[in-house]
Amino acid sequence: MKYGFLTPVLACLLTSVTPYAWAHSEADPIVSMLSFKQFEQSKIGDDTAAIWNVDAWVGRDFDKLWIKTSGEYSDGKRQDSSVEVLYSHAVSTYWDIQTGWRGDFNDAENRQWFAFGLQGLTPYFFETELTFYVGERGQTALKLDTEYELLFTQKLILSPEFEVNIHGRNDRQNGAGQGLSDIETGLRLRYEFTRKFAPYVGVNYHKEYGQTAEYSRDSGTDTETMSWLIGLRFWF
């Protein structure tokens, strides 16, 4: 499992090379996309970490297969990562329902979840994901992630992002406490040399609450961190 973290990345790459299944102009061809939304180095004090947040999808207008993976790599090993494999179905003009599997991988224990969520665009252009998870042992979690884009110019774009996690019950092993567990908010300023290639700098703030914060204090980790980011956003 040393290189286990590569599996989700490889899975993404494989879906992205799915050839066009069409020669003629049918309206609804199979289209795919591989998007490195965040591919960055973060710095907290003297500690650095590599962070990825990658989406891949393949499918037609109404039905798509989504793979989402995010995680962190530091001190020469994968710290935390998750992979989601979701079936996505368009249900309204701007919203898809997504259902499927999520796996969390960390030192303590690997967990599996059933995922059910909504992904789409809210009024005022917030790209939003709201997902409900049910774990193997009946534990539950809710994640909300939303992102906005503020254009200084057509190419210089500031993108605030906000994420909040809520857990249904205490899970000491994984350091997740009942209720509001943590929030994360990031601010990334990117320059789109092309639509598909944009380096960025940014800052990320993470804070834990309640029992989650207690668990962290017990294990001697910070419950509030501020990090600097430098990264690349690119897609195919």
């Binding site: 066009y20 289209v31 003009t93 503020l150 254009l151 200084f152």
Partner: protein, 618 residues
């Protein structure tokens, strides 16, 4: 912008054109007068006669500084100008040298269904390495064009002009005659453009509102008003700058195959009347055309003579044609300027007495922004069309849309027609004046595939169109409107319509899906017309894009307000959030295509029209 090199494809005369087809001169040279001095730009060849050999094949081109392979007819982009005579029987042997099926469609020609060149409707298409013989009698005159109806071959160069000499004396007098064919070229593969749009609908739009636009607005109007102005767009998740799906970011705009740097050239002598036959052969680009310093007299629309109208500027939708006559009175060069609807680029030519003279190229006009009316929302009482304000539809409908969508394949236009039949049966309004019926959104319009429904669409007839509405006040330019078009001759079929069909142009910009009544072509039943019937079609644009809609086989007789002089068109622009109506005489039995002529809208926003002796079989 981009540097351009000479394309090797152009000047090569084509050896494949055998038979009686004679090559006469170079296309840009007047059709009526011999060449005095040969222009330096590229021009398609002119082919005359009754028998034509056309070869669709691969051709190396270079429009942008990069070498690309085009699909060309007889080795050139555009293909040769075909010069026909009204009344003659012509044959065209079209060879396909591509690795894919191909076809040629004679756009705007009235001909038997089997000769129309639409694979899957009129014939099976032309297989690689094979040929097809087209044969038909030319029953009309004027300016038309032809193009491939297979895949996205139109984008990569399979198009050319048709000029038909009238059998009777031409009501238009002129000394010189030029084809001015406008088009768009991209170095990107068209399949890649299409999938890029599916990945990100606004990929090519670089005119989004920025923070400084917001700041300007706040300074000028205050925070409250700026917020209010943006509110609806924000709530509906739509961009006011969404004018063109594919823009000058990837397109190089061409005039007779010449890039803006090269420019096309046409010669005149002072005092001469010059006829310019404008054809929009672009895949996705609507152009606004003007010649600074010259009034243009529009004498024909879509090949059909109209009562002359003098204008300074006109919009030409994809697939439309306009013939104009200009009379340059000065001994100077004039710029023929065609800017894209979103002002992301232009193509240009020069009318000049001397080929060494260059006219000043004007700056492009301001970039237009969509307004509330472009979403079919009346903002004041008098704006309201026949469809009364129904208020914005909301979630209840959306839910029904969701369920409907789950089995969308089972829905069809038949449902829609039945829905129409169930409505209180009122006699359609008389011919020429347009529809009086209410605008109704059928249930198939609700679902993920549709992002907007016009609640009170305005009549698009007298609307110059997005970005042109203030050109009179702002620049003093008289802009052509559809309401200016009156047939030069009297209406032939003076019957009132027996029935009306209301069709809604629908789509979802974000998902890049296009349809009619919310149903894409693949899931739709054909529209059934009864042979001989006279009917009215009301097109309602439930989107913010400008759609040029083309009906094959029969004329679209645009109701511009004078029942005795209804102009005949083959392609009709439907303005964003607006409606327009035209009459159709179903006088040609067969299966005909009916679609938006924007190439990447066409796969979804299309219907088959089936004209039979029996009419509606259901």
């Amino acid at each position: 912008m981009k540097t351009t090199h000479y394309s090797p494809s152009r000047r090569r005369f084509v050896k494949g054109a055998a038979g009686a087809s004679a090559l006469i001169g170079i296309g840009g040279v007047p059709l009526t007068i011999g060449a005095e001095n040969t222009p330096k730009m590229k021009s398609p060849e002119v082919m005359r006669g009754r028998h034509f050999d056309l070869n669709i094949g691969y051709q190396a081109v270079n429009f942008t500084g990069s070498n690309r392979i085009a699909t060309a007819i007889n080795g050139s982009v555009p293909g040769p100008i075909l010069h026909w005579k009204e009344g003659e029987h012509i044959t065209l042997r079209v060879h396909n040298h591509l690795h894919h099926d191909s076809s040629l469609h004679w756009h705007g020609m009235i001909l038997p269904s089997g000769m129309d060149g639409v694979p899957g409707m009129s014939f099976a298409g032309i297989k690689p390495g094979s040929y097809f013989d087209y044969a038909f009698q030319v029953q009309q005159n004027g300016t038309y064009w032809y193009h491939s109806h297979s895949g996205f071959q139109e984008q990569t160069g399979v198009y050319g002009a048709i000029v038909i000499e009238p059998a009777n004396p031409d009501p238009v007098s002129y000394d010189r005659d030029y084809v001015v064919q406008l088009s768009d070229w991209s170095d990107q593969r068209p399949e890649d453009i299409y999938s890029t749009l599916k990945q990100r609908g606004d990929y090519y739009n670089f005119k989004h509102a920025t923070v400084s636009d917001l700041w300007q607005d706040i300074k000028n109007k205050g925070i409250a008003q700026s917020w209010a102005d943006r509110r609806m767009w924000n709530e509906m998740r739509m961009s006011r700058s969404d004018i063109a799906d594919v823009t000058g970011y990837t397109y190089t705009y061409l005039m007779n195959g010449n890039t803006p740097e090269q420019g096309w050239q046409g010669l005149f002598k002072r005092g001469e009347k010059v006829r310019l036959r404008f054809i929009n052969s672009a895949a996705m680009t609507i152009f606004d055309v003007r010649i600074p310093g010259l009034k243009m007299t529009v004498v024909a629309a879509d090949g059909q003579n109209i009562e002359p109208v003098s204008v300074d500027e006109f919009r030409i939708g994809v697939a439309e044609t306009y013939d104009v006559v200009v009379e340059p009175s000065d001994d100077r060069a004039y710029c023929v300027f065609a800017q894209s609807i979103d002002r992301s680029g232009y193509c240009r030519g020069t009318l000049t007495p001397n080929l060494d003279w260059q006219a000043e190229v004007p700056a492009m006009d301001y970039s237009p922004l969509l307004a509330h009316r472009d979403m079919g929302m009346a903002m004041s009482g008098h704006d309201m069309g026949a469809g009364a304000m129904q208020g914005m539809d909301h979630s209840g409908h959306d839910m029904s849309g969701m369920t409907h969508n789950m089995h969308m394949g089972q829905h069809s236009d038949m449902n829609m027609q039945h829905a129409m039949h169930k409505m209180p049966v009122e006699k359609p309004a008389p011919a020429g004046m347009g529809s009086q019926r209410k605008i109704a959104h059928v249930n198939t319009e609700f679902g993920p595939q549709v992002d907007m429904r016009s609640q009170s669409p305005m009549d698009g007839l007298s609307d110059p169109g997005i970005g042109l509405r203030d050109h009179q006040e702002r620049y003093g330019r008289r802009v052509l409107r559809y309401s200016d078009l009156r047939n030069l001759y009297q209406t032939e079929d003076r019957r009132d319509p027996e029935r009306e069909i209301q069709l809604h142009l629908t789509g979802n910009m974000e998902r890049y899906m296009w349809s009619m009544n919310g149903i894409p072509f693949a899931d739709a039943e054909p529209l059934q017309f009864k042979y001989g019937e006279r009917l009215r079609i009301v097109l309602v644009n439930d989107s913010m894009m400008t759609h040029p809609i083309h009906m094959h086989g029969v004329w679209s007789e645009l109701e511009t307000g004078d029942p005795m002089h209804i102009p005949k068109k083959h392609t009709v622009i439907v303005q964003p959030g607006s409606k327009i109506s035209y009459l159709v005489s179903a006088d040609a039995v067969g299966r005909w295509a009916y679609h938006c002529h924007l190439l990447y809208h066409m796969p979804g926003m299309m219907r088959e029209v089936h004209i039979t002796e029996q009419g509606d079989l259901s």
